[in-house]
């Protein structure tokens, strides 16, 4: 039984979360973010209801035709989404650090409840719940005699998922709290993400195999899935449907055991936290190499003033120390490799398009960096504001570093495309170059403005925590969409006239206003920063 003090504490935490949301609306940016969040909320609602309806209809069809064993597929889909989405999309979810509550006199039970209840309020849980309910309704409508079993099975499935997702999250959070293990985790996540990209091609390949072979693959995997909770959930229903309630109950017991295991692991972690572990895992004194008194000279970029060189060097060092950013850089090439999949003569003459498409993707993956270019600097932004350097030089140096990264990325891509397919024809090289002349200054200009008007402190060292503000995300995506659309339109014109030099010419013409606009904006940056410096510094210096 919960004590009145525990109830008060839980209610206080709920109030704090509510006040955090309300207070975030005080600023214009907060209100703009609310609009972006509302749009995201609508999308989530649509996904929840649409998914629930689709799964419900499928479950109804399977239950009415007696093919209950196929329900396992859908429980697996829900399970995988529920468990993997929060990890993959930490960029889209905001987690309040409830471990900060430890300084208050919370009992362990209250602390556990707070972590469990408030941590579970996320998109994946909302969608997972809706979809599970959709399955439950579908099964119940098709086979009313299964209602009690469906209720028990789905309830067990939901409880297990909530517990497991929290367990996974707190353990990952624990590993992420140490910088080194955080970076290792970043690499693992990234490899996982890449692994997921293989699912499509793999499915595509298997779908082309004869049906007998496909069934052989499925038969090999099937026993393994049956002993895991999503498979067990479906088995409860098939067993109950077959009129074997004892066995169904025993299988339900297995889900309870799985949930118990998840609960124990969660308890293990939260108890360590509750007992006051050192979350940052202070490395303590370490062996250092004898002092190297020689401090190397900084870089010197020819034709550019010293501050531009210094900022360029700093940006490149930051970039080279960000594991996630480095991996992001390789994404376009990986995508091309995945699309190719080792097939000989893949797409034939259409392979010319790989280079411009890959180049477009290169710009896209740079969005976070370009549109929130001071985010990674945190409090360091004050160094730029205090220095006797015109701010346009700071912004220009940052753009120069971003351009250098882009060029490197495109060169790697060009090399990859040339090795895998063939060197792109000159017309395609030209149209890609001209598209960049148009798209890069436009992106840099817009990125500079948003970086100043809507900055958000981020940590480029941590995977999945490089999210810019909601306003920036929406605005940058709109700009990218427009820029890509214009590029596609120019290519379509070239295709229509069977001459891609026309596309290059169109893009070259569009590049002129884009470059002029960038230069004009750059010249005004010093005036803009005078009005924005306080907001920018306070936003980025915030802990």
């Amino acid at each position: 039984m919960m004590t009145s003090e525990a109830r008060e504490q839980l209610s206080a935490v709920a109030t704090v979360r509510w006040r955090l949301l309300v207070n975030s609306l005080r600023s214009v940016r907060g209100r703009l973010n609310l609009v972006s969040r509302s749009i995201a909320g609508l999308l989530v609602t649509a996904a929840a209801l649409g998914g629930a309806f689709a799964l419900g209809a499928t479950a109804w069809e399977l239950a009415s035709t007696g093919k209950l064993q196929w329900l396992a597929v859908f429980f697996w889909i829900v399970f995988l989404f529920w468990q993997f989405f929060p990890i993959m999309a930490t960029a889209f979810t905001q987690n309040v650090d409830t471990s900060a509550l430890l300084r208050f006199p919370l009992t362990y039970r209250t602390y556990f409840l707070v972590r469990l209840a408030f941590g579970a309020i996320d998109i994946a849980t909302a969608l997972g719940l809706c979809w599970s309910l959709g399955l439950l309704i579908g099964i119940s409508a098709a086979a009313p005699r299964l209602i009690p079993w469906a209720l028990l099975a789905v309830l067990g499935f939901i409880v297990f998922n909530i517990l497991l997702s929290r367990t996974v999250f707190v353990w990952i959070e624990h590993w992420l709290s140490r910088r080194r293990s955080r970076e290792v985790m970043g690499v693992i996540f990234f490899v996982l993400m890449i692994g997921f990209q293989f699912v499509g091609p793999a499915l595509g390949r298997y779908s082309k195999e004869p049906a007998v072979r496909r069934f052989q693959y499925i038969a090999r995997v099937e026993p393994a899935q049956r002993v895991l909770p999503p498979g067990l959930t479906a088995t409860i229903l098939t067993t109950a449907y077959a009129g074997d309630p004892r066995r169904a109950l025993a299988i339900l017991g297995l889900i309870v055991v799985y949930s118990g295991a998840a609960l124990w692991l969660l308890h293990l972690r939260l108890q360590q936290q509750y007992r006051g572990e050192n979350p940052e895992g202070n490395a303590g004194p370490r062996n250092v190499s004898p002092a190297s008194n020689i401090v190397r000279r900084g870089w010197k970029l020819p034709f550019f003033p010293a501050p531009v060189s210094a900022i360029f060097e700093k940006e490149m060092r930051y970039f080279s120390r960000s594991g996630p950013m480095l991996f992001t850089m390789l994404m376009p090439l990986i995508m091309i490799l995945l699309l190719w999949g080792g097939r000989k003569g893949f797409l034939g003459s259409k392979s010319d398009f790989f280079f411009p498409i890959g180049a477009g993707y290169c710009l896209l993956v740079m969005t976070n960096l370009v549109y929130n270019s001071f985010g990674g600097d945190g409090g360091g932004v004050q160094a730029f504001l205090m220095a006797p350097v015109p701010f346009r030089q700071v912004v220009f140096a940052k753009n120069l570093a971003q351009l250098a990264v882009l060029i490197t990325e495109i060169l790697i891509l060009l090399l990859g495309v040339s090795l895998i397919y063939r060197s792109p024809r000159p017309a395609f090289l030209a149209l890609t170059f001209c598209w960049y002349l148009f798209a890069a200054p436009l992106n840099f200009g817009a990125g500079n403005l948003l970086s100043i008007y809507s900055p958000k402190r981020i940590d480029y060292a941590v995977f999945g925590r490089q999210r810019a503000s909601e306003t920036t995300i929406v605005a940058s995506l709109a700009i990218q969409f427009a820029v890509m659309g214009i590029g596609a339109l120019a290519i379509f014109v070239g295709y229509h006239y069977s001459d891609y030099w026309i596309a290059a010419a169109i893009l070259a013409v569009l590049a002129v206003p884009s470059i002029v606009g960038y230069v004009i904006l750059l010249r005004r940056i010093d005036r803009i920063i005078l009005t924005r410096r306080e907001v920018m510094a306070s936003e980025l210096c915030r802990a």
């Binding site: 910088r179 490395a283 250092v288 190499s289 002092a291 190297s292 008194n293 020689i294 401090v295 190397r296 000279r297 900084g298 010197k300 010293a306 501050p307 060189s309 210094a310 900022i311 060097e313 700093k314 060092r317 930051y318 120390r321 960000s322 990674g376 600097d377 945190g378 409090g379 360091g380 932004v381 004050q382 160094a383 730029f384 504001l385 205090m386 220095a387 006797p388 350097v389 015109p390 480029y460 060292a461 005078l530 009005t531 410096r533 306080e534 510094a537 210096c541």
Partner: protein, 260 residues
């Protein structure tokens, strides 16, 4: 001779709230000036305005005779700042950061590297050549921020709470460096909550309360009560004078009834 720091009716408002009102500061070259005040009195806001990190709503500011609004870049070249957030780049090493800071202040690459090396030695940070700043302790970060603020040999140094969170050893290093700078003619303007440090280091003090400058003068004059007519003749400690000026602790009757 121009004042090192001069403000006239310096005011800063945030909406309806006035953080700094009609502040007239006068700091002569070579002075070690302590800027004191209770929490929220307007110290950091003033220092931010003086260093170009924040605009003033009204009033005039001059640093070394240069109007801040007219010659912002030139003023920045002459000053060094350790702001509230220290302005460090966590993912650089100490030497990379100092190199960066030196070049931002116009030093050539060789000189920036040479001074960075010297400063790292002086601040006892050279044993950590590969450590990223984010992995430094708080005290090490403070020392590094201080090193970056002085790498170009500024004539005026602004320090916002330089000793906060710094241990006695690091604090000693910082103090000796500041005293050497004063001996060489630099002007230092510092805010601190630690009155003992101010009393030991500073020659002049200004006290701000509720956004207004309520006392200003040499430490000796203030302690002797010369700038405070009500206590003329009495010699007080800085703490006594400070508490007297800003209002002091609440009376016993105002204490919390439920605390035994």
């Amino acid at each position: 001779m121009d004042a090192a720091i001069l403000t006239e009716s310096l005011t800063r408002r945030f909406g309806d709230f006035t953080a700094v009102q009609d502040v007239n500061l006068y700091v002569e070259p070579g002075q070690f000036y302590g800027f004191l005040g209770p929490n929220g009195a307007g110290k950091s806001t003033t220092i931010k305005m003086l260093t170009g990190l924040m605009a003033a709503t009204s009033g005039r500011m001059q640093i070394l005779g240069l109007d801040l609004a007219m010659h912002l870049v030139e003023v920045k070249r002459q000053i060094g700042v350790v702001p509230e957030g220290m302005a460090l780049f966590g993912r650089l090493t100490g030497s990379e950061y100092l190199n960066f800071a030196g070049r931002m202040y116009g030093l050539d690459r060789t000189m920036a590297a040479q001074r960075a090396g010297e400063l790292l030695e002086f601040m006892e940070l050279s044993d950590h050549p590969k450590t990223l700043i984010t992995d430094y302790s708080h005290g090490m970060q403070k020392k590094l921020a201080m090193a970056a603020a002085v790498i170009h040999g500024p004539k005026v140094l602004f320090l916002d709470e330089p000793f906060e969170g710094v241990d006695a050893i690091a604090s000693g290093t910082l103090k000796s460096m500041l005293q050497r700078m004063i001996a060489r003619g630099a002007t230092i303007f510092l805010t601190s909550h630690v009155l003992e440090i101010v009393e030991r280091l500073c020659t002049h003090v200004g006290i701000i309360n509720n956004g207004r400058l309520v006392a200003q003068g040499s430490l000796d004059d203030l302690r002797s009560g010369i700038s405070d007519e009500s206590s003329a003749g009495e010699r007080m400690s800085l703490e006594e004078f400070f508490l007297k000026t800003v209002g002091g602790p609440r009376a016993a009757s105002q204490e919390l009834s439920w605390l035994e």
